[in-house]
């Protein structure tokens, strides 16, 4: 069985990224959009890991970055869910189209 190379991983990462973007742009449900963001973040994580492993194998910078991103993603999810709960309380809905009036 063939060892997966950098290109394979980048391909998966790109696929994940665009799936995430597609989901973010098309879904109306805020929870689903949050999940799409997680996909995008994870595609970035994959990129960091892959570049670290294949280009600078002796270093750990990419790994640290990934860890940071995971931590931030967790915090971001907590904040986002708090926002969504508040939105639900005031609008009785978590549909993103109902949140349009927030621009005022």
């Amino acid at each position: 069985m063939m060892e997966p190379g950098l290109y394979h991983i980048l391909f998966i990462s790109a696929a994940l990224f665009f799936i995430g973007v597609y989901g973010f742009l098309t879904r109306r449900n805020l929870i689903t959009m949050l999940m799409s963001i997680e996909l995008i973040l994870n595609s970035v994580n994959l990129n960091f890991i892959a570049f670290n492993k294949y280009l600078w194998p002796g270093k750990l910078d990419g790994l640290f970055f990934t860890l940071f991103i995971i931590a931030i993603a967790a915090a971001e999810a907590a904040v986002a869910i708090a926002i969504i709960i508040n939105l639900y309380r005031s609008h009785q809905s978590i549909d993103v189209e109902n949140a349009e009036d927030l621009k005022y």
């Binding site: 742009l25 098309t26 959009m33 993103v96 349009e100 009036d101 621009k103 005022y104």
Partner: protein
């Protein structure tokens, strides 16, 4: 040396009265305001008389020549060394003479108004305005700096505006005050430009330095200013002529006189003070102040001064013969007499015997202030009694107003130049000066003096003789002691002022001038004056058809004079038709379409653009994400393929 405190108090006391009555008059001094104003002015008058005595008889004369003293000079605004606006006091023979005239006439008017304006609702305001005017006029005559005189010049303009429009609920008074202000302001524009030109040429705003610089023909300033010319006249000529335009506007000289007859809408004592005795002679005073410059450096302008004065004198005299409003007759008479003063300056020369015209002009200013104020106050008493300005409503009043009748007669004799009343002496000197220097002006002046006698006695006979009076319902008499006293005092002045040997006190160079009195010379003017009086007697002593028949036989001339030679109409035509259509309307069009159009274009563009781009902010999170994504993609493409 003059005492600076005493002289400074003369204008400052009326100012204090203005502030006191203007600020607190309506609440605290509602009833006492008249007495306060009068008391302050009485003090001023006494100080002025004291100053005059001290100047003329104690310290003024050094080696037989009256000197100018500057007891106080404060630099108010300094542009550069030498060029500064000072607030100071110049004490010389004409300013001291004017101090006496202004305070005395103003005091008379203050006293008279106690009776005339009694019961007026804005009584305190009236006295406050009188105080403001007196202060400004005294400041004007004391000015030692041409810019200082300009400041006070505008102040007297403002007080005149306020007092003409005193009855502000009367539309005609409002219109008259606006007219007076705009016409004189228009002339003052010339004055200001003249000041700038003269100060630019001489490098100073101080009167003495300016006169000294501009009258020495060898100085660089004069050479430069005469070398630079504009429209065929040198800069100095233009400067002096423009200053004279300012003076002509204030002094109601033809063709800037149109405001004076309308200014009679103000209370009658105000007309006596401002529009007969003091403010309107400011123009004469200004020319006299700068007389050395006019006489030595720019004699051409002095020639203009003479002709403008002569033309004004005769035109006003002709118009005065046809008017029926007594105050308007007096207004035109004032204009005519100021014309006399102007051309007397115009025919004068600087220094020695040639300066007779200058002395005569100041003399006439002095005597005219007396008898013209008296005429106005007398007219005020008549109007007070009849409640009308129109001659046709009057007649036979001599039995009802005996004191007014006698004093008015004295004033009429004085203005007609009948010896030995004041007007005779001053007019005589003016005619003599004209005779020596300019025959054409002399003839005009001679005819004018005949006309003067005629229209004054036309007025006199129409008021006091002519038809029998209708019985007036209210027999309130002549207005009591406060209205009689000024009339009597002024009548004494009008009768006796002529005996003052004026030439000894006022002359171009300060040296005493012999008074020339030729019996033979005075035959012609006195004869003409008597002829005028007799004509008036024949026409107006008894009510008859002669004046009407005479008027219709004169036809066009009478009609033209009755309509004041259509000068008002010409002004209206020029402003309404010519200026409005040729300049006003195109300018308004340009403003409305081009200037406003540009501003509106900016506004409309901004609005249209923001209208277009406001849809970008939709509130749809996913739309924002798309913008963001497309931006990133574009940047990525650029970074990868273009800016490698």
């Amino acid at each position: 040396m003059p005492n600076a405190t005493i002289i400074a108090l003369i204008p400052l006391l009326p100012l204090a009265g203005f502030l006191l009555l203007g600020l607190f008059g309506r609440k605290i001094f509602k009833n006492s305001s008249g007495l306060i104003g009068t008391a302050l002015l009485l003090t001023s008058t006494i100080l002025a008389l004291y100053t005059a005595y001290e100047y003329f008889f104690v310290y003024g004369k050094v080696d037989g020549v009256y000197q100018q003293f500057i007891p106080l000079k404060l630099t108010w605004l300094e542009f550069s060394p030498g060029l500064s606006i000072d607030m100071g006091m110049a004490v010389d023979s004409i300013s001291v003479m004017m101090l006496v005239v202004v305070t005395f006439i103003s005091l008379m008017v203050h006293i008279y108004s106690l009776g005339y304006m009694k019961g007026e609702e804005r009584f305190p305001t009236y006295y406050a305005f009188l105080g403001l005017f007196t202060f400004s006029m005294l400041g004007l005559v004391l000015s030692c700096n041409i810019f200082q005189i300009y400041i006070f010049w505008e102040l007297v303009g403002v007080s005149s505006f306020l007092l003409i429009g005193f009855y502000y609920d009367k539309p005609s008074a409002v219109a008259a005050s606006k007219k007076a202000f705009i016409v004189t302001r228009f002339a003052d524009l010339g004055f200001l430009i003249g000041i700038l030109i003269l100060s630019n040429s001489s490098g100073t705003l101080d009167f003495n330095t300016m006169i000294a610089t501009l009258t020495s023909p060898d100085s660089d300033a004069v050479k430069t200013a005469t070398a630079s010319s504009f429209l065929g006249a040198s800069a100095l000529t233009w400067g002096a002529a423009l200053v004279f335009i300012g003076g002509a506007g204030k002094s109601a000289m033809f063709p800037l006189h149109i405001w004076l007859p309308d200014a009679m809408e103000g209370p009658t004592p105000v007309s006596a003070l401002i529009h007969a005795a003091t403010m309107v002679v400011a123009g004469v005073y200004l020319v006299a102040r700068l007389f050395p410059v006019f006489a030595i450096t720019v004699p051409a302008v002095l020639e203009i001064v003479g002709w403008v004065g002569a033309v004004s004198a005769i035109i006003a005299a002709i118009i005065a013969c046809t008017q029926t409003d007594i105050k308007r007759v007096l207004a035109y008479s004032t204009m005519s007499q100021i014309g006399y003063m102007m051309f007397a300056l115009g025919v004068s020369k600087y220094g020695g015997e040639g300066g007779l015209g200058y002395t005569a002009s100041m003399f006439h200013l002095f005597t005219h202030a007396m008898f013209k104020a008296l005429l106005f106050l007398g007219a005020g008493a008549v109007i007070h009694y009849v409640h009308s300005n129109d001659m046709n409503d009057m007649g036979g009043l001599r039995k009802y107003l005996p004191v007014t009748h006698i004093t008015f007669l004295i004033a009429c004799l004085a203005i007609a130049g009948v010896p030995p009343f004041a007007g005779f002496f001053s007019k005589e000197e003016i005619l003599l000066a004209a005779y020596q220097n300019n025959m054409a002006i002399y003839w005009i002046a001679l005819i004018t003096s005949g006309l003067t006698a005629f229209y004054m006695f036309r007025l006199y006979f129409s008021i006091f003789w002519n038809k029998q009076p209708e019985v007036h319902g209210d027999k309130h008499g002549e207005g009591g002691f406060v209205m009689m006293l000024p009339l009597v005092l002024l009548a004494v002045g009008a009768a006796a002022a002529g005996f003052i040997p004026f030439g000894e006190f006022v002359s171009t160079d300060g040296k005493a001038l012999e008074s020339h009195f030729h019996l033979r010379f005075s035959v012609a003017p006195v004869a003409l004056g008597l002829a005028g009086i007799l004509t008036a007697l024949w026409l107006y002593k008894k009510q008859n058809e002669k004046p009407v028949r005479l008027a219709s036989s004169l036809g066009g001339l009478y009609k033209a004079a009755y309509h004041k030679f259509y000068i008002d109409e010409i002004y209206l035509f020029i402003t309404r038709k010519v200026l409005f259509n040729l300049i006003g309307k195109p300018a308004a069009w340009f403003d409305r379409n081009v200037v406003d159009g540009l501003i509106n274009l900016t506004g409309n563009t901004t609005q249209a653009v923001s209208e277009g781009i406001k849809k970008i902010q939709s509130g749809k999170v996913q739309q924002y994400a798309i913008y963001f994504l497309s931006g990133v993609i574009i940047l990525a493409v650029l970074f990868i393929y273009v800016w490698r």
